[in-house]
């Protein structure tokens, strides 16, 4: 990674860049042992699950600039794949791997036609695909159709186990995101985001790179869907293939800071923590509130929470710099 990219992550610079995530991971690892209530663990579990989706979407939407409204397809397929695997007695880690693989495979099938489209055409196509898959799943008898699919938990329900599975997946997702951002592949995605034709004129294969980013994002989202299926005892098409899921997955990186490493994580935690409260308080209006939030962010702080944080740090540094200058 070059200096500019390093500078962009200035507030996590130097030793802090490694220390803060490690500390955060440590705190999250010991959190269930500190004896919080099951509701607190559940809220954090949900947030961690969203982290994987949000970070996965950001690889395609944030790094490569391909705005997809269809990630519910991969979340839903991952949920169903894991649910069927778990009911067949397949161990949980393998079930999650199957969920990720099914989602990645589906992303290639979806991506081959749709990723040839650009900008709003791609976004509209993903909405169409997402709705088509939801309708198919609603009518597919093999998976219970509209009635949904029940998952048989083998053994006693262990909330801590589910929490740790979600934590490990979120850590893997963030690790992968860091690796992608610093890699040759990441540079290709950024160049595609900036100008797809110019990237191709320098030797980047835009279609292949977008397809790979799509598959990686889908795999993480599918695995997160698998984590959700493992936690629930029942899944149904509106719950995992719904358009609100796609919007939520897109909204989280937007809240935190699209195209950054930590923005999607921050956005997922914020969303995970306030989502249920919003549904409870404004059952009719919560989607409207998300729409309003999206408009406000795009209008006033497109960099999201991370962008705002960076601005504040820059402002504080400028102030302290000018202060020391005047003292001298």
């Amino acid at each position: 990674m070059t200096e500019t990219a390093k500078q962009k992550e200035a507030f996590f610079s130097g030793a802090a860049r490694l220390a803060i995530p490690s500390l955060l991971l440590g705190v999250l690892a010991v959190f269930p042992l500190a004896g919080p209530g099951p509701n607190a663990i559940r809220l954090l579990f949900v947030s961690l699950m969203w982290v994987s989706c949000s970070v996965g979407w950001n690889i395609l939407g944030g790094f490569a600039g391909q705005i997809s409204f269809g990630f519910a397809v991969f979340y839903g397929l991952g949920s169903y794949a894991a649910a069927i695997s778990l009911n067949a007695g397949i161990p949980r880690p393998l079930a999650l791997l199957i969920a990720a693989t099914v989602a990645a495979f589906a992303s290639v099938l979806v991506g081959i036609p749709t990723l040839r489209l650009r900008g709003p055409y791609f976004a509209i196509a993903t909405i169409g695909v997402s709705e088509a898959v939801r309708v198919v799943m609603t009518n597919l008898q093999f998976t219970g159709g509209a009635s949904g699919y029940r998952i048989t938990e083998r053994g006693a329900f262990n909330q801590h186990l589910h929490y740790y599975v979600a934590l490990i997946l979120a850590a893997i997702a963030v690790g992968l995101s860091v690796l992608v951002r610093r890699s040759k592949f990441g540079l290709a995605l950024l160049s595609i985001r900036e100008d797809e034709d110019a990237a191709a004129d320098l030797g980047v294969n835009p279609f292949l790179c977008k397809l790979e980013a799509h598959a990686l994002g889908a795999a993480l989202t599918g695995a997160a869907g698998g984590v959700y299926a493992g936690y629930s005892d029942f899944i149904h098409p509106p719950g995992v293939f719904g358009f609100d899921i796609s919007v939520a997955i897109l909204l989280m990186p937007t809240i935190g800071g699209i195209g950054t490493i930590w923005g999607p994580v921050i956005g997922a935690v914020v969303y995970g923590l306030i989502h249920e409260e919003l549904i409870a308080s404004f059952p009719e209006f919560h989607l409207l509130l998300y729409g309003l939030l999206l408009i406000l962010i795009i209008l006033f702080e497109p960099g999201g929470v991370e962008g705002l944080f960076e601005k504040l740090i820059r402002f504080a540094r400028t102030r302290s710099g000018s202060g020391s200058h005047s003292e001298a």
Partner: protein, 242 residues
């Protein structure tokens, strides 16, 4: 000497409009060939077709003896052809160094030993090494032209397609860019140079090809082309008879 590039009856149609009509010519390796013509003559379209940015409707493109007619842009770069754009297309939120690294890391199958050092060397060559940390969006028009050249040079092409690299530049900047093109040629890269600035073309080109209405009008040395009545007519029109 075998030509580095050979176009054989190349055509490009946009719906009903024939932008290129049976264009055939050859380019010898190691020189600078100018491609001139009035507005709408098809010069940029020709560069885009050769670079794989848009597909040819018919005809053939042979590069170093290999048929590359159906290669896409990234494939043409890997084959050894890179192009600049009339309006520079920088990756605006990336640094100058990262912009060059894209060309270096993807443009050639050969892997550079130290990508950052190699990129800095190229930036030094084009004269903007001191700006390497700056975002591309902050560069001036002249520096953007240099960055555009640096990025394609990083791809280590055998044939460089330059599209009006001097347009919009001051006389001083134009002179610097022309020196740079001469340097690039000395380093062994063949150049096909599209330009409106005829003085620039005459200053650096060994041969000039003239296009008009999507067809090749003539070709020859800069002096011969300059005095060709057909070329004069294409640029300033037929003298009216009173």
């Amino acid at each position: 000497m075998a030509p580095i590039l050979k176009l054989d009856r190349l055509c490009k149609n946009f719906a009903g409009l024939a932008a290129l009509k049976d264009v055939s010519f050859e380019i010898e390796p190691g020189g600078i060939t100018g491609l001139i013509g009035p507005n709408g003559a098809g010069k940029t379209t020709l560069l885009s077709v050769v670079a794989g940015s848009i597909p040819a409707s018919s005809g053939a493109i042979l590069f170093q003896g290999r048929d590359i007619t159906h290669l896409r842009a990234h494939g043409a770069v890997h084959a050894g052809i890179a192009r600049t754009h009339q309006v520079p297309k920088p990756f605006r939120t990336l640094s100058v160094l990262e912009n060059v690294e894209v060309g270096l890391r993807f443009g050639s199958r050969q892997r550079a030993r130290n990508e950052e050092t190699e990129s800095l060397k190229i930036l030094e060559w084009v004269g903007i090494a001191h700006l390497y940390l700056m975002r591309a969006s902050a560069l001036s028009a002249g520096d953007l032209k240099r960055l555009e050249l640096a990025r394609v040079l990083a791809a280590r092409p055998s044939l460089l397609l330059c599209d009006e690299v001097c347009s919009g530049l001051t006389e001083f900047e134009t002179s610097a860019i022309l020196h740079l093109l001469a340097d690039i040629r000395r380093a062994g890269t063949t150049i096909l140079y599209v330009e409106h600035n005829l003085r620039a073309i005459m200053a650096v080109c060994d041969r000039v090809i003239v296009m008009n209405y999507g067809q090749k009008l003539t070709e020859g040395t800069p002096e011969a082309v300059q005095n060709d009545p057909a070329v004069i007519e294409a640029y300033i029109g037929k003298p009216s008879v009173a």
